[in-house]
Structures are given as structure tokens and as C-alpha cells.
């Protein structure tokens, strides 16, 4: 009796768990795994770009004839690789890592709640998420190959390509459903389950960011889902929503897709901004500079984020006058981003900075996000975009936002909350080596892409050597690929550190970082129900270095 009870509880505890912490950790493991998968896909395609038509050593022999012939990559496979790299990173790594993993683990703890509002829905969200990734990746094993029309899947091409594309569409619908379940849960939890005294303007920035992100998800995802269903109908039932010959309109897809996917960029960056704000304030030992401005800036980004989607379509054949309107809104969305950057600088100004691995990654976020933000201004200008649209300049830009931004924030989050999750610290020296290598290799990989773009290098081409005007740029491609390999290998350090520290990491108490927010008042790791007694909140989350106190921090739940 007792044995069968134990077995069931193992399943309930680790597999079909409804505890937000376990689900958060499940999301974390799964998304970090997909991060490595997506990275591996990128490295494969980088080989082809640096050495087009050269057989890939060793690994090249493993692939079947439909992907590589004698180790030489075929264009079909290349096209599937860049499509799946982006899809895996966006849908199965970054969004669920920032929102699913950190949102789940951190939000109830930071607002002083025992769990999420809908624990079962929360579990269901995870069980929609990982199968969706399997569905999309299974495309590699069907005869037509995986989806190969880019992560933007523009019809008519995406309406006529093979079975892998159908799998991709189904996967995106599933992962969309998963995000929606998460969003509803975060909104309800944050609105209804805050501990006594936790007013909205006493919430940590991570909670604010997840809150606003969930609003975006809730408003935008249904649009993506309906577009996907229409595309599925065009593919399987002979409808013509996006096919001009049946009275449909090709550009309709782009409007619907970007109505989701531009806000999705903010879904991928806002939680990162929240995490980074928490980390920077903690390790600067200073209150966040301009808390209210930071909150309003997030709201501003979310609002403007819904009226800028047309900037992906300046050269699409959309009316040029409409383009002008989108140019204005796009230019303006840089303003709240600037506000946030200056406030992070303001937070560090006259602080006492502690350079933990978490802090280093958070600083890298600020520094890299500036590049990603500034490079976006080139494309915001309709006229300049005419040259840069669909070149490597935009590939560089998006990677500065999504890797330089989102991923460094995610790393910061991992180093910061790992002790809370597992009761042990990640190894700091290894963390710093991982950071230094990643930071250098990241810049060597993605900065030169801007130069390629300035040289006129188109994106999504299997063999740049086909064009005479690109041949002199080839050394840059080689350099990028070598750097990308270093970047890829550097992530193994994090993997080793992660696995090693789970078992042998330095044990910590409740509050290893001397932090103010509520999660640090719970045991490490917190038990079922999180807090020994429901905390009461007496002040804002960032009261560091208050004059007249002996310690330089003042937890939110401390009465005096």
C-alpha cells in the first residue's frame, strides 16, 4: 500500500505535477534542451554558409541522402534548417523559457501566493508545449522534410510546400494554445492572489513584465492561431484565404502574422527586461531608478507594439502611405526602450556593483539590447529599409535583440534563481567563464552580420557564392561560422555547471543574494505551498541601502 502510494506521488510530484515550481522547472529543463537543439541546427547551416558545397567532416556522413550527399548539404535541408532553427528558438526555447519557466517559478513566489490560480490548467499548458515541439521537429523524419519556408511561413509558398509544413502549422497552433493557458493563469494569479500589502506598484519588475506580456499574449495569439487555421485550410481543404487565384490575398497573411509576431518580439523581450531590472537593482544594492517610469515604459511598449507590425511590410507591396504611418509608430517605440536603458544606467550609477554571474549577464543584456535597439532604427526608416530589408543586417539586428537581449536575460535569471529552485548555487567561476566566452563569441558571431547586410548580403540563401557581388564578403561568413562554433561549445559549460551544481553546488539558505523580494523569504527550495506563513508586504521591492539601517537591504515582508 505504502509503496504504490509512493510511486503515485513520484508521478504526481515530478511528471504530472500541478505545483507551479515543478512546472516551472519542467519548462526550464525542456526549453534549455530545445535551446541546445536550436543551436545545433544553427551550427549545421552555418557550416554551409561558410563552406558552401564542401563536405561536412565526420557529422556529414551521419545524415541520410535526402539531407546531405557525401557530407555535402542539399538546399532542401538548408531551407529546413533555417526554418526550424528560428521556429525552435522562438516558439520552443525563448518564449517558453522566459514566460513558461521563469513566469511559473517566480511569479507566485514574488507576489506571495501559494501557487498559481489554476494549477491544472498550468500543467495542461506544459503538456501542450513539449508535444508541439515534437510535432514540429518530426517534420525532419517525413518524406518531404521539415517545414522549409522560414519561420514567417509566407504563403503562397507555405501553402504549397510538403507535409512538414502541415506539422509546423499544427505545432504552432498547439504552442499557441499552451501560451494562452499560461497567460490566463498569470493574469488571474497576479490580479487575485497577491499577498496582503502587495499593491500593484509594489510588485517586482519581473511580475510587471510577465503581467503585461500575458496581456499581449492574450490579445495577439488568437490572431496567429486563426491565421494558422486559415493556412491549414488552404493547405488541406482547397480554400484560398491567402491565394490570389481564388480571390484571396497574399498580403492578408503578412498582416495577421505580424499582428502577432511583432508583439511576440516583446513577449520575448519584456520578461527579460523584468528579470534584468530585478537582478541589476539587487546587485547594485540600489533601488531601481524610476520605478514608475519603468512600469509605464513597459505598458508603452506593449501598446505601441500592437501598431507597428506594418514595418515588416514596407517593401511587401503594401500601400507606401500606410508605410509612413507605421514608420512613425515604429520610431516612437524606440522611446520607451530608451527610457528603460537610461533607468538601468541610473540604477547602477552610484551603486556598489557586485559582479556575480547573474549581474554580468544582466549588464550584458543592457549593453547588447542597446545595439539591437539602435540597429532597428535603420529598418524603421522606410527609405533606408528598402536597402536593408531581407539582408543580413536584419539577421544581426534580431539576434542582438533575441540572443543579446532575451538569452542574456535568461542566463541572468538562471544564475539568479537557481539557488531558489534547487537550494544550491551554480558554480561562480564556471559561470564567469561561461559568461565571458559567450559574450565575446556572441559579438563575434552577430556583429559582423551587420557588415554583411551593409554589403547587400541577402538572408536565407543556401550559397552566397552564387552572386558575384557577395563573393568578396565570404571571409566574413567564415569568421561568423567559426565564432558560432565557439558560441555553441561555450554553452556546454553552462550545461556542465548546471548538472554538476544540482548535485554538488554550494548549499544556500533562504536569501543568498541579500535580496528584498518575497521569493527570498521562502525556504530554498520552497516546499509545497511556498511560504511557511503567508507574508505581509510593507514596502516596495527595491529598498536597498536605505540610510540609517545596519544592513543594506530591507525585505518587502519585514515589518520594520
Amino acid at each position: 500500500m505504502s509503496e504504490s502510494h509512493q510511486k503515485q506521488s513520484f508521478l504526481r510530484k515530478y511528471i504530472f505535477s500541478v505545483d507551479h515550481k515543478t512546472i516551472g522547472i519542467q519548462f526550464l529543463f525542456t526549453t534549455l534542451f530545445f535551446f541546445l537543439v536550436g543551436g545545433a541546427l544553427a551550427l549545421l547551416l552555418r557550416w554551409q554558409l561558410a563552406y558552401p558545397g564542401k563536405p561536412m567532416p565526420v557529422l556529414g556522413q551521419v545524415f541520410p541522402e535526402s539531407m546531405m550527399v557525401g557530407g555535402i548539404m542539399l538546399p532542401e535541408f538548408y531551407n529546413a534548417l533555417f526554418t526550424m532553427h528560428a521556429s525552435v528558438m522562438i516558439f520552443f526555447a525563448i518564449i517558453p523559457l522566459l514566460v513558461g519557466a521563469f513566469g511559473n517559478f517566480v511569479v507566485p513566489l514574488q507576489i506571495g501566493a501559494p501557487d498559481m490560480a489554476f494549477p491544472r490548467l498550468n500543467m495542461l499548458s506544459y503538456w501542450f508545449f513539449w508535444p508541439s515541439a515534437i510535432v514540429a521537429l518530426s517534420g525532419f523524419f517525413v518524406q518531404s522534410g521539415a517545414a522549409a519556408t522560414g519561420w514567417t511561413a509566407y504563403p503562397p509558398l507555405s501553402a504549397i510546400e510538403g507535409t512538414g509544413q502541415t506539422l509546423w502549422v499544427v505545432a504552432v497552433i498547439m504552442v499557441g494554445a499552451s501560451s494562452l493557458m499560461g497567460a490566463i493563469n498569470y493574469l488571474t494569479t497576479i490580479l487575485n492572489m497577491r499577498a496582503p500589502g502587495m499593491g500593484l506598484f509594489r510588485m517586482p519588475m519581473t511580475v510587471w513584465a510577465i503581467f503585461i506580456t500575458s496581456v499581449i499574449t492574450l490579445l495577439a495569439t488568437p490572431v496567429l492561431t486563426s491565421a494558422m487555421i486559415m493556412l491549414l485550410f488552404d493547405r488541406t481543404m482547397g480554400t484560398h484565404f491567402f491565394l490570389s487565384e481564388g480571390g484571396g490575398h497574399v498580403l492578408l497573411w503578412q498582416h495577421l502574422f505580424w499582428f502577432y509576431s511583432h508583439p511576440a518580439v516583446y513577449i520575448m523581450i519584456l520578461p527579460g527586461m523584468g528579470i534584468v531590472s530585478d537582478v541589476i537593482s539587487t546587485f547594485s544594492r540600489k533601488p531601481i531608478f524610476g520605478y514608475h517610469a519603468m512600469v509605464y515604459a513597459i505598458m508603452g511598449i506593449a501598446f505601441l507594439g500592437f501598431i507597428v507590425w506594418g514595418h515588416h511590410m514596407f517593401q511587401s507591396g503594401m500601400n507606401p502611405t500606410v508605410g509612413t504611418t507605421f514608420m512613425l509608430s515604429t520610431m516612437l517605440i524606440a522611446v520607451p526602450s530608451a527610457i528603460k536603458t537610461f533607468n538601468w544606467l541610473g540604477t547602477m550609477w552610484r551603486g556598489t556593483l557586485r559582479f556575480t554571474s547573474a549581474m554580468l549577464n544582466a549588464i550584458a543584456f543592457v549593453s547588447m539590447f542597446v545595439i539591437g535597439g539602435l540597429s532597428g532604427i535603420f529598418m524603421a526608416s522606410t527609405a533606408v529599409d528598402m536597402y536593408f530589408h531581407d539582408t543580413y543586417f536584419i539577421v544581426g539586428h534580431i539576434h542582438y535583440v533575441l540572443f543579446g537581449g532575451s538569452m542574456f536575460a535568461a542566463f541572468a535569471g538562471v544564475y539568479y534563481w537557481f539557488p531558489k529552485m534547487f537550494g544550491r548555487k551554480l558554480n561562480e567561476p564556471l559561470g564567469k567563464i561561461h559568461f565571458a566566452l559567450t559574450f565575446i563569441a556572441f559579438n563575434c558571431t552577430f556583429f559582423p552580420m551587420h557588415i554583411l547586410g551593409i554589403g547587400g548580403h541577402m538572408r536565407r540563401i543556401y550559397d552566397p557564392m552564387q552572386y558575384t557581388h557577395l563573393q568578396h564578403l565570404q571571409p566574413i561568413n567564415v569568421f561568423i561560422t567559426l565564432s558560432a562554433f565557439v558560441l555553441g561549445v561555450s554553452q556546454l559549460i553552462l550545461l556542465v555547471n548546471f548538472v554538476k551544481s544540482l548535485k554538488w553546488g554550494e548549499k544556500v539558505g533562504k536569501n543568498p543574494w541579500e535580496s528584498n523580494t518575497l521569493e527570498w523569504q521562502a525556504p530554498s527550495p520552497p516546499g509545497h505551498g511556498n511560504f511557511e506563513t503567508t507574508p505581509t508586504v510593507y514596502r516596495g521591492p527595491y529598498e536597498y541601502s536605505e540610510p540609517g539601517r545596519s544592513s543594506d537591504f530591507h525585505p518587502q515582508s519585514e515589518a520594520a
Binding site: G53, G290, M331, L353, S367, V370, A380, M386, I461
Partner: protein, 494 residues
């Protein structure tokens, strides 16, 4: 038992078709009279891999007149007289090799049902496109050196044209017949068809420029001679496929525009390629304005960050300041970026409306139909109208004059019942990019400021062959362009 079956079957055959035992041979020559056109040199400059493989001029094989006044590359085959006899297809495949950016052999025969092995011996991409009517068309990319493909034509067809969509000069012909009685003339213009059962036959000789000749002959067993006479006065009109009487070759007044076309290009290194359009300079200036502004912000922020990291690093005894912010600062760093960004919007808008607005009056109308994976370029011809018989058409070759605006109407088309897809018309040096959208006709315009040869790229992912959807922009002198139009109108160039 099997052996006995085979022997029996063999004996029956021998008994029923004694003709095979004493088969006949047809021999002959493809004679040629008149003046051969000068063999044209093929310019492979479009693909440096191709031109690099030929140290000397590479001559077109369309018309090769041998030293004994005979024609090479004439396909001779039995057209009628074999009745309904079936001949098993040979097991050994026919071979078509792509080498030095040319098809070898240029003309060949094979049997229906026989395998055709297609090789790529070049370290460049070829795209083998079989233009067939009785057989399934195919159009396949062969990106890799040493790559092989096998295809079968199941029905007879005279002739199937093979062409490469990457290298417009590449073409070859395959005669597919239902029997083994065919030959192709070689360097002495002779052919030999062996093992032909005795009987009455119609024999046809086909040449790609001078059309077909037929002869009725009786083959008694033993050898028969049948010569064919081709003449330079009769040629086949390529468009209609009908034989026409060639006018005396008009001396085309070839205008030599090579000085303009080969004008050296500016070296720009790892940066913006040279600008060659009237509005490109303004676009570049706007780019530099943004580059300056963003660089200043970038450096200021990064330097401040570095200073903070150093100056405010945690040291024993250090205490952080206690401040929640400063509203005046918030306003400053909201308003200043907003003003700069609105300024950039206004600056962009001016140029944007110039580029996207009405093309200047008098712009030369050109239509480009993008398909997977080529640019079909059309000019109006003399009548100034599209869709008439005097339209000038090229594939992947856009010719324009310098110093005159051109208006390009972009549409997306699909061949072979496929769907049209989105492409993007990108001229890097012109700074022009415009998506080509199915169901829409989109006009763009530009005016080149110098002569020379540049590339057209497809910038929107359009499928398997997207990366090789490459075209060529030739900017002529005005005289050169007029001459080009004249020659193109006479069918001189593609």
C-alpha cells in the same frame, strides 16, 4: 529449364523474323550548301566559374560546318516503316554531361524508356530543364559537382530541348525514338544506322537551325546510301518552329558597347556597394545620418556603462546612494529621443515618397514576371505596347540605358500549373528592393547614373532555387541600348 525457354524463344524469333539475320545498313552524309553563319562566341562572364573554365573563346555548337562541307550535330532516325514493332529499351543509360557550362553531347538520340543519366561535372550550380511536350517536363537544380540524376522519357519525341535556367546560353537536344535506329552526325558529317530489317522506310534528318529533311528509301539488306542536303537559305523560325526561307543574312550593324558595359566598377570593400542610381545617394546619406546618430548614442551609453562598472564596483566600505529616480531626468530622456526619432521620420518620408511616388514622365516601360526561379523581362518592341508579337523577351537579362528613368512593372507568374509565389526584386547598387506579389502588379522606377554590368537578386525566400534566382542588369550607353533593342527585335540575342 530457363535456358531451354530462352533458346526456344530465340529460335521462334529467328524463324519469324528472318529479316534480322540479313539486316541492312543505311549510311550517308549531311551535306551543306551556302554560307555558314560565323560561329558565335559564347560570353560566359555571367558566371565566373564558367568563364574561368575556358582559356580560349568558347564557340556555340548551333551550326558546326565540317571541313568537308558537311553538318555536324544532325540527328538522323527512322521516322516511318517499322510498323508497330516494339524494341526493348537498352539497359545502358544515355548520358548527358554538364561540363564547362555546356551540354555534352549537344545533340544525341536515345530510346523511349531508356534511362538518361544527367551529370554535373562543374563546381557550379546547373539547373537542368527539359522542355518536353510528349513527356513530363522537369526542372531540377544540381548544385553539386559530381551530382547525378536519372530520368526516363517514356514517349518518343523529336526533339526535347534541354536548357539550364541558370546559364541562359546552355542548351542541347535529345531525340527520343521508340527504336534503336538513329544516329548523330559527327566531325565528318556522316552517319550510319545499322541492323535495319529489310523494308521501306522514311528517314528524317533534323538540324537545330536548318530544320528537317526526309527521304524514302528501300533497304534490301546490305548497305544503302542516303545523303541529306541542308542549305543556309532555309532555316527554322525558333518561335513558330516552321521552316522559313532565310533572307540573305542582313549584316547586323553590331554596335560595340563593350566599353560602356565593361566600365570598371568602384571597389568598396566590406561596405555599401557603389551607388548607381539617382536616388541611391540620398538613401545612402540618410543611412549615414542614422549611422552617426546611433553611433553617438551607442558610444555614449557603452562608455557610461563602462565607467559605472569601474567606478561603482563594490569595494569594502562603499555605500550605495539611496535614490528612487529623478522626474526631470525621465522627461529629458523621453523628449530628446522622441524629437530625434520624429526628425528621422520626416527625413525618411521625403525620400520615401520620391522613390515610391509616380515614376518620372517618359520612363521606359519594362515588365518583369518573376517565376520560380527566373526573371522574365519584356519590352514593348516598336509598337509601344505589351502583349503584341513584337514584344522583346529575355530571361534574367535586364538591359537599360544610362541616364534615363525606367519603370518596371513587377508581377509573379507560375509555369506548369504551379502557384505563383512571392519574390523580391533587389538591385543592390540601385538601392532598390520591392517584393513581387502574386495577384498584384507593382511599379518601381529607377534611373541609372553610370553604365556597367550588375546583378539582380531575389531577396524574398521563394523556395528551393531561391538562392540562384539571379539576373543581370546591363546598363548601356544610349546608342548601345538602341542597338541592343534593334538586335533583340531581330531575334539576335536573348
Amino acid at each position: 529449364m530457363n535456358l531451354r525457354k530462352v533458346i526456344t524463344a530465340g529460335l521462334v524469333c529467328l524463324y519469324l523474323f528472318p529479316a534480322f539475320v540479313q539486316a541492312g545498313t543505311v549510311t550517308g552524309k549531311a551535306l551543306f550548301s551556302g554560307e555558314a553563319p560565323p560561329n558565335q562566341k559564347i560570353d560566359m562572364a555571367a558566371d565566373p566559374v564558367c568563364s574561368g573554365m575556358h582559356k580560349t573563346d568558347f564557340l556555340n555548337e548551333r551550326v558546326v560546318v565540317n571541313s568537308n562541307q558537311t553538318l555536324k550535330n544532325v540527328f538522323v532516325y527512322v521516322k516511318e516503316g517499322l510498323g508497330g514493332q516494339a524494341f526493348p529499351a537498352p539497359q545502358t543509360p544515355a548520358v548527358l554531361d554538364q561540363e564547362g557550362c555546356w551540354y555534352y553531347p549537344h545533340v544525341q538520340g536515345m530510346q523511349a524508356g531508356q534511362k538518361l543519366q544527367i551529370l554535373n561535372s562543374d563546381a557550379t550550380l546547373h539547373n537542368v530543364h527539359a522542355v518536353a511536350k510528349n513527356n513530363a517536363e522537369f526542372n531540377l537544380g544540381m548544385p553539386l559537382q559530381g551530382m547525378k540524376l536519372e530520368k526516363t522519357f517514356s514517349n518518343p519525341e523529336i526533339m526535347i530541348k534541354m536548357k539550364c535556367d541558370v546559364h541562359p546560353w546552355m542548351n542541347g537536344y535529345i531525340g527520343v525514338v521508340s527504336h534503336p535506329f538513329y544516329a548523330v552526325t559527327g566531325d565528318d558529317g556522316s552517319f550510319e544506322i545499322k541492323d535495319l530489317p529489310p523494308g521501306e522506310y522514311t528517314i528524317e534528318a533534323w538540324h537545330e537551325v536548318y530544320g528537317t529533311q526526309t527521304q524514302k528509301i528501300a533497304v534490301p539488306g546490305g548497305s544503302v546510301n542516303a545523303d541529306f542536303q541542308f542549305s543556309s537559305s532555309e532555316i527554322v523560325d525558333e518561335a513558330s518552329g516552321l521552316k522559313i526561307t532565310a533572307e540573305a543574312p542582313k549584316p547586323i550593324n553590331r554596335f560595340d558597347d563593350s566599353a560602356a558595359l565593361n566600365k570598371p566598377r568602384a571597389k568598396t570593400g566590406w561596405w555599401l556597394p557603389e551607388n548607381i542610381s539617382t536616388y541611391g545617394g540620398k538613401l545612402d546619406r540618410l543611412f549615414y545620418v542614422i549611422l552617426w546618430i546611433t553611433s553617438i548614442v551607442f558610444i555614449a551609453v557603452q562608455v557610461a556603462l563602462l565607467i559605472f562598472l569601474f567606478k561603482y564596483r563594490d569595494r569594502p566600505g562603499a555605500k550605495a546612494a539611496y535614490t528612487h529616480g529623478n522626474n526631470r531626468l525621465e522627461i529629458i530622456w523621453t523628449v530628446i529621443p522622441a524629437l530625434i526619432l520624429v526628425f528621422l521620420t520626416i527625413a525618411s518620408q521625403k525620400l520615401w515618397s520620391e522613390i515610391k511616388g509616380q515614376p518620372p514622365a517618359g520612363a521606359i516601360p519594362i515588365e518583369i514576371q518573376a517565376e520560380q526561379f527566373a526573371w522574365n523581362v519584356r519590352y514593348t518592341g516598336k509598337d509601344g505596347k505589351f502583349g503584341t508579337s513584337d514584344d522583346i523577351k529575355t530571361i534574367n537579362q535586364l538591359h537599360i540605358p544610362v541616364g534615363k528613368p525606367v519603370r518596371v512593372r513587377l508581377t509573379s507568374i507560375a509555369k506548369d500549373n504551379k502557384h505563383p509565389v512571392i519574390h523580391s526584386f533587389f538591385l543592390p547598387e540601385v538601392r532598390l528592393k520591392q517584393d513581387v506579389v502574386p495577384g498584384m502588379a507593382i511599379d518601381v522606377w529607377f534611373e541609372a547614373t553610370r553604365t556597367g554590368q550588375y546583378e539582380i537578386a531575389c531577396a524574398e525566400f521563394c523556395g528551393l532555387g531561391h538562392y540562384r534566382m539571379r539576373g543581370f542588369l546591363s546598363i548601356h550607353s544610349q546608342e548601345g541600348f538602341d542597338a541592343w533593342l534593334r538586335e533583340a527585335a531581330q531575334g539576335g540575342i536573348g
